[in-house]
């Protein structure tokens, strides 16, 4: 889980082009949207693609993303429970 969370941090920074943010800056419980990393709706869609591409998880209802993408912690837990690759 710890390794997965580190992996997620570096992937998010890379995929979403968060130029000025380092892995150490992101805490497991930081909110990803709003005040935290300041991600927006296009980023959320991009994270859905990432779940599919890297972990073989297809979100049927994009609204589910709201709970899953709260923080690195919640993403990690969801991926661990549902990953197919």
């Amino acid at each position: 889980m710890e390794a997965l969370k580190q992996e997620l941090k570096s992937k998010i920074i890379e995929v979403l082009n968060l130029e000025d943010i380092n892995i150490e800056d992101v805490n497991d419980d930081d909110p990803l949207f709003g005040d935290g990393l300041g991600l927006d709706s296009i980023d959320a869609l991009e994270l859905i693609v990432m779940l599919d591409k890297d972990y073989g998880i297809k979100l049927v209802d994009p609204k589910e993303g709201k709970d899953i993408f709260q923080s690195i912690e919640t993403m990690g837990a969801y991926i661990t429970a549902n990953r197919t690759k």
Binding site: D40, S41, I42, L45, I48, V49, P62
Partner: protein, 379 residues
């Protein structure tokens, strides 16, 4: 005193007809171009779309010309322009402009050819192919402003005539269904799993479509259908993919058109809106219309008949809107059931009659763009 500008010729090529009269007859009969398609070349899963039948297109094209080497979309656009250029019978000289509006043009050229040979994917080349066919003397003007392109083209044509640069402007607008566009809208989770339901409670997104439309915008009043009396094309300055929650850009675009036309919002008899059936777009439009006290004005979206035809939609819906106003008709919003926006708007549910004088066309799109154009019927 600014010059008066008119629309004097119209035409459209759609899955439900290759001229305006056939389109009107089919809309009147509740016929939609939207069907379920199974075409793995376009998308893995089956999808709803409003597509033009290749065989019909090729047959119609062969009747007009024996020329070959045109792409599918070029054929659609030539067919849209051909009758109005013939009817107008103008000398195509340096006072006649050719405006082409499209969102993606020949984007399919990218999948068919090596990256080094992408000439036909260039929009100016695409426009030149059509300009050469009709022997326009002036360089084509291409407008590529996302989903407002088609209606923005009318505004641009009017401004070019007002500026004294041209006397007549032929506009053609078109877009086709492609894997490129389908996959993109799908990645945005913006596609409806049923034929789209504009302004409805259970709407889930867009249905894509393809079409071409053409008009002649002229300073010459002869054969006038409508006069173009005001326009505006103002950005939300809010988000590149989502509309403003307050409808700011659309509100300001309509306001700009009203000020120019020197009429009150209350004078608007009919609105042909964008109505893509995404949750955010329709909600945004309802808010903008309410901010202008336009909630009582009859409004429709034609997306239920044609799907979202991207850069063509604004011009296609203007062509059909003009015809309905000339025939004193109000056309139903196909797919609409129960109002599903937070503000009241007067969605046209069934075909009806009304003698409309002032008609507003609006559109909004990616990049935060919005366009509004006001027309007046003059007898």
């Amino acid at each position: 005193m600014t010059k008066e500008v008119f629309i004097t010729q119209t035409n459209c090529i759609t899955p439900i007809g290759f001229d305006v009269a056939t389109n009107m007859k089919n809309i009147d009969g509740g016929v939609s171009g939207i069907q379920l398609h199974q075409n793995t070349g376009l998308m893995k899963e089956s999808f709803y779309a409003s597509q033009i039948d290749d065989e019909n297109l090729n047959t119609a094209f062969a009747k007009v010309t024996a020329a070959t080497g045109f792409s599918r979309l070029e054929k659609m656009m030539i067919l849209a322009l051909d009758p109005i250029i013939k009817k107008a019978n103008l000398v195509l000289d340096d006072r006649t402009a050719f405006v082409l509006s499209t969102t993606k043009g020949n984007i399919t050229a990218l999948q068919n050819s090596a990256i080094e040979d992408n000439t036909n994917a260039y929009l100016h080349q695409f426009a030149q192919n059509i300009a050469d066919y009709f022997k326009f003397k002036t360089e084509p003007i291409v407008i590529s402003n996302a989903c407002v392109s088609g209606v923005l083209a009318i505004s641009v044509a009017k401004r070019l005539i007002e500026s004294g640069m041209y006397d007549d402007v032929f506009i053609v607008a078109g877009d086709e269904i492609s894997e490129f566009v389908l996959s993109g809208f799908n990645s945005f989770q913006a596609m409806s799993n049923l034929p789209c339901k504009p302004y409805s409670k259970n709407r889930t997104g867009v249905t894509l479509g393809e079409a071409a439309a053409a008009v002649l915008v002229s300073s010459n009043k002869e054969g006038v259908k409508v006069k173009i009396i005001g326009d505006g094309s103002i950005n939300d300055a809010n988000h590149i993919s989502g509309p403003s929650r307050t409808g700011e850009g659309l509100f300001r675009s309509i306001k700009s058109a009203l000020i120019e036309a020197n009429i009150e919002a209350a004078a608007i008899d009919y609105i042909s809106a964008h109505g893509t059936a995404t949750p955010f777009n329709d909600e945004m439009e309802a808010i903008a219309f309410n901010r202008l006290q336009l909630e009582k004005a009859p409004v429709n979206s034609l997306k239920g008949y044609y799907g979202h035809t991207l850069g063509a939609s604004g011009l296609l819906e203007t062509v059909i809107g003009i015809q309905s106003v000339l025939e004193n008709k109000l056309l139903a919003t196909m797919g609409f059931d129960e109002l599903g926006v937070s503000q009241d708007i007067n969605v046209i549910k069934e075909n009806g009659t009304k003698n409309s004088r002032y008609f507003l066309k609006t559109a909004s799109g990616f990049g935060g763009c919005n366009t509004a154009v006001l027309f007046e019927k003059i007898n």
